[in-house]
Structure formats: C-alpha cells, structure tokens
C-alpha cells in the first residue's frame, strides 16, 4: 500500500462532504412485496416507507398481512417478490439489521436464561458495544429492575413482553419495529409503551408500530399505513387520512334558502334538528363563521355549533367496508 496522495485525500474529503450532505436513506423502504402461503395470497404488492425519526402505524384487520410484511422487512420470511431496504442497506445483508430493534408479535425468550443474560446475548449478537450499566437501565426503564437475575421461564406474559421491549431497545437502534407491543400489557404498561415510543421519536429513532389499539396509533403515529387483504388500502399522514372535518349544527326555523346555503358548504346529513356538514378540505378558517353568519341572515335559529372530526377508527372502518363493498360488487 502506498500512502494516499494529497489529491486522493482531497478527493476523499470532498466525497465525504458530499455523502454527509445527502439526505439519510429512509429507515424502511420496501416496494412490491408479495408473499403466498400455499393457496393463500398473504401479501400482494405492498410498498411502504418509514422515514428517519417517523412513527408509522400499521393498521388492518386480522389476516391483513401486517405481521407477514414486518417479517419480510426483517428477513424472517422470504418474499416471493419485492425489494426491501433497511437504514439504506439491502435487507438481504444481515448488517442492515445492526441498528434495528424488534419486538415480535410472538414474544418468547430463552426460558433458561435470566433477563440480564437475554439482554447481554442480544447486545453481543447486535455487535454493538453497550455497557452493562446501560443494559441494566434499559431493564429498569421497562420496570424489570428487580427481576434482572430471574430466569425468564418464571416470567408472566406481561413481563416477557416488557423484556421483549427491552431487547428491542437495548442495542442503540435507529429503527424499532414493534409488532403488537401492548397485547399482554395492563393499562399502565400501555402508557409506558406510549411514552417509550414518544421518547424514541424525540431521539430521532424511527418506529414501525403494528397495533390493534387504534387510539394508541392515533396518539403517537405521524403516518399510518392501512393494510387490507395483503394490500395497502390507504396510507398517509393523520391529517391526510383524517383531513375531512365536519361541523354539527342544531338549527330550527330553517328556510329553503338556508338549507341550500348549508348544502353549498358540503355534504349534509340530518338527524331531527341536528345537521352534520362536511367542511371543504381547503378551508382556511373562514367556512364556519361565514356559514353561521349566512344562516342567521337567512332566518335560521342557530342553537349549537360543534366542530367534529372523524376518528381514525371511523376512517379505518370506512376504508375496510368500502373495500368489502367493492369486492362484493366485483364478485356479482
């Protein structure tokens, strides 16, 4: 080997500067994932992306293919087709998973090891140097400080899930994949998980969260991907998915002109004297006061005006039902 020339050094520095200036590759990027188990098409053409520092929720009914997608991302299941990149590396390279923490839906850890030994094993396998004190702190964060020396075989399901979370968090991950992280936890544990996810987000760690608890997803996620029958049924930020705002009004003495004014704002549904009006998506805060002013001017008596927003749950159910209706239509 000869010493690199001054020109070579400059070129290297320039290259390093250029690379440093590039935006970081997404934490997860996958395209066209497919998986078939026997005659069952579990996943069909799924593409998704989790940006660095983003918390993305994966939602969908049982059998939608959420866990299969997660396992394909982590190289635990071989996709029939499609590509996966983790933290900028192709997922086929095990090194891509060096900074990935994972809590499986089926969380089981070596029952003959103690909690501290399980953590030490995962640190060793990750190839990242994590001091023992940090490992203990990680267990303490999950409420396992008193049980570090106990065999995992004697843990309750909830304790094992807490241990699983510690395993996912211990090796300084840049991406954490949590598959149903609160399925065995009590309400306090669920709050802990929410705080942990928010803490990860504040540290710029990307999180992919698969959960049936839609309220939880709504609270912590920046973006949501809804899977149905192995396909992406919808995806976007919460504002994009829940963007449709509504207004509930209690009105009496409504003239035909006032009704027309109401209908001009958006789709109207009526239940007695209560009217629900969809607000335009491009509203900049003027639609509601203008509508109330016009209705009053047209002689309507306005008793109550309440803002309403559809919940993620309603949106999810709407998307799933629309999918089912479309399939029924196609099958006819």
């Amino acid at each position: 080997m000869t010493a690199p020339s001054a020109v070579g050094n400059d070129a290297q520095r320039e290259a390093a500067r250029l690379v440093a200036g590039l935006p970081q590759a997404p934490a997860v990027w996958c395209s066209g994932l497919r998986k078939r188990y026997g005659r069952q098409q579990a996943v069909e053409d799924v593409s998704l992306q989790v940006d660095r520092g983003d918390v993305v929720g994966l939602l969908g009914p049982n059998g939608a293919g959420k866990t299969s997608v997660i396992k394909m991302l982590l190289g635990l299941v071989r996709p029939d087709a499609g590509e996966v990149m983790l933290l900028g590396r192709p997922a086929g390279d095990p090194a891509a998973r060096a900074r990935v923490g994972y809590l499986p839906e089926l969380f089981r850890y070596q029952p003959w090891l103690s909690a501290a030994e399980v953590l030490a094993l995962h640190v060793r396998l990750s190839g990242i140097d994590v001091p023992a004190s940090e490992q203990r702190e990680c267990l303490a964060l999950l409420g396992l400080a008193e049980r570090t020396g106990d065999r995992v075989g004697g843990f309750s399901k909830g304790m094992q899930q807490r241990l699983g979370l510690a395993v996912a968090l211990v090796a300084e991950p840049e991406l954490v994949v949590l598959d149903e992280p609160t399925s065995a936890l009590d309400p306090l544990g669920r709050v802990d998980v929410r705080d942990i996810v928010l803490a990860l987000k504040s540290r710029g760690v990307a999180v992919l969260l698969n959960s049936h608890l839609i309220g939880e997803v709504e609270r912590v996620c920046d973006r949501v991907v809804i899977l149905d029958r192995g396909r992406v049924a919808a995806s976007g930020t919460l504002t994009e998915l829940l963007g449709q705002r509504e207004l509930r009004l209690h009105l009496t003495g409504l003239s035909a002109a006032a009704e027309a004014r109401l209908a001009a704002t958006g789709a109207v549904t009526r239940a007695g004297d209560w009217f629900t009006v969809a607000l335009p998506a491009d509203d900049h805060g003027t639609a509601v006061p203008d509508l109330v002013r016009d209705l009053a001017a047209l002689g309507a008596r306005v008793h109550a005006v309440e803002p309403a927003r559809i919940t993620l749950e309603e949106r999810l159910l709407g998307i799933l039902r629309a999918g089912a209706d479309a399939r029924a239509e196609a099958g006819r």
Binding site: G75, L76, V77, R78, V100, L106, H122, S126
Partner: protein
C-alpha cells in the same frame, strides 16, 4: 463470533435444561451397574474358571455392551436436544428475536451444531473414559486404542446429531428426535443382520449392513469404536468369522476411506440442513 456466541448459548442451554441431569443420572447408574458386573466377572474368574483369553474376551464384550449403552444414551440425549434447540425455538418464537439480529442463519445453525457436537462428544468421551477406568480397576483390562475408540464414539454422536439437526429444520421437535433415534436403531439392526449374512457367507444379506452403513454412518463408526475397544485376540477366541455375527464384537478396524465418507456425509447433511434453514419462513 456469532458462531461461538450461539455455540456457547447452546452449551449453556444443555447444561441448564433437565437433559444434562437426566444424562448424568443415567450415566452414573450405568457406570455403577457395570462396575458391579465387572467386579462379579473378576470374582468368578478369580478361581481360574476362565482362561486369560476368555477373561479378555468377556471384558471386551462387556465393555462394548456398556459403550453401546452410552452411545444410545448420547444418541437419545443429543437427538432430543437438537430438536428443541432448533425446531423448538422456531416453533415457539424464540428464534424470531435472535434471527432479526445482524447474523446469518448459516452462522446461527453452525453455532447450534458446534454446541451440540461439543456437548454430545464431551459426554461420550467423559462417560467412556470413566467406564474404561472402571473396567481397568475391576478386571484389569485396558482397551488397545482408547483414544481412537472414544474419538469414533464422538464421531458417531456427531453423525447422529447432524441428522437430527437436518430433521429439525423440517419437522417438529419431538418428531425429529424420534425419527433420528429410530434411524440410529434401524441402522444398528441392519448392521447386525449384515454381520450374520457375512458369517453365513450370504452376500445379499451381508449387503444390507454395508448399504445401511453407507446411508447412515453411525453403525460403521460404532463398529470401528468396538474394534478399538476390544482385545485383538478376542475375535480369534470367539471363533474367527463367526465373531462377525456377534453384535458386540467387530471383525475389522475402519478404513480411512470410510472415515472420509463419514466426514463427507456430515458435511453434505449439514449443507442440506443449512440450505433448508436459510429458506425457512419463520
């Protein structure tokens, strides 16, 4: 690095599971019983009821018989350890978190296999050595090639657990143990049948043993181990070629070609197991 971590983990699993306790109890019982048996043999032959040749023959046969017991215990122990440690971990989900780490599945499998080899070989070598010492103390018999004999016993265990590892990539933990031990016993019986065929001069029956020894080298290696344990004159005392029909004496030492085949067999079966495990959906 990964390989050694997983191998150490497998050894720790073996030492912490009940399988080690069960193996230790069985071994101690077998050694104690054989010690008592050998001391009776010594007492009976003390009154010169047996010639020195007959005494050595008896010692050889009994030693081979007890060693067969150990190889059976090792076979049961490793086959039923290989199942839970591989198929069991993939079934229960323990493997999910481990294999999501930045490690290659082939390295994981190699680590498991090495751990099992170290455990199984360690067991047969220690138990076999203890047995040899008991025999020496009771009837003053020392096998002609104890190192080769114990190494061949370890090789036999390695062959069987490699088969169990292959089976456990495809079938359930318990089934892989049962099938591996079943095949081990079948090959042994086929070897005995082949030996009878050889002593009767029936080539077709003799071929049963030869073919089974090629398909699964456990019996071939076991016969090599017996040959190294037994007194060289024992076979002549027993009656020359008739000895071949006797399951606890071996007519000839192993050839280098056969040892090479056993090594190739292990490599091939391991490669198939690795290929199956790498493709497995967890």
């Amino acid at each position: 690095m990964t390989v050694l971590t997983i191998a150490a983990l497998t050894l720790r699993e073996a030492s912490r599971r009940r399988v080690l306790l069960a193996l230790t109890v069985l071994t101690v019982v077998l050694i104690a019983l054989s010690g008592w048996g050998f001391s009776r043999v010594a007492a009976e032959s003390g009154g010169s009821a047996l010639t020195s040749g007959e005494a050595r023959l008896t010692a050889s046969i009994l030693l081979n018989l007890v060693m067969f017991g150990f190889s059976l215990i090792a076979a049961l122990g490793t086959a039923f350890l290989a199942g839970p440690t591989l198929a069991g971990e993939t079934e229960s989900g323990i493997a999910l978190a481990v294999l999501a780490r930045p490690i290659r599945r082939s390295a994981f499998l190699l680590g498991k296999w090495l751990g099992l080899v170290a455990f199984g070989s360690g067991f047969v070598v220690l138990a076999g050595l203890a047995q040899c010492l008991v025999v020496r103390a009771t009837v003053d018999y020392w096998p002609p090639q104890p190192v080769a004999a114990l190494a061949l016993l370890a090789a036999q265990t390695t062959v069987l657990l490699t088969l169990a590892v292959l089976l456990s990539t495809a079938i359930s933990p318990m089934a892989s143990g049962v099938v591996a031990v079943g095949l081990f016993c079948t090959t042994w019986v086929a070897g005995v049948v082949g030996g009878i065929g050889a002593s009767l001069g029936n080539d077709a029956v003799a071929r049963v043993g030869t073919v089974s020894r090629m398909l699964l080298p456990t019996d071939g290696l076991w016969r090599g181990a017996m040959n190294a344990f037994q007194d060289p004159t024992a076979l002549a005392v027993f009656g020359g070629s008739d000895g071949e029909a006797f399951p606890f004496l071996s007519a000839a030492p192993l050839t280098l070609t056969y040892l090479a085949w056993a090594a190739v067999w292990v490599a091939l079966v391991w490669a198939v197991a690795a290929a199956a495990f790498v493709r497995k959906d967890l």
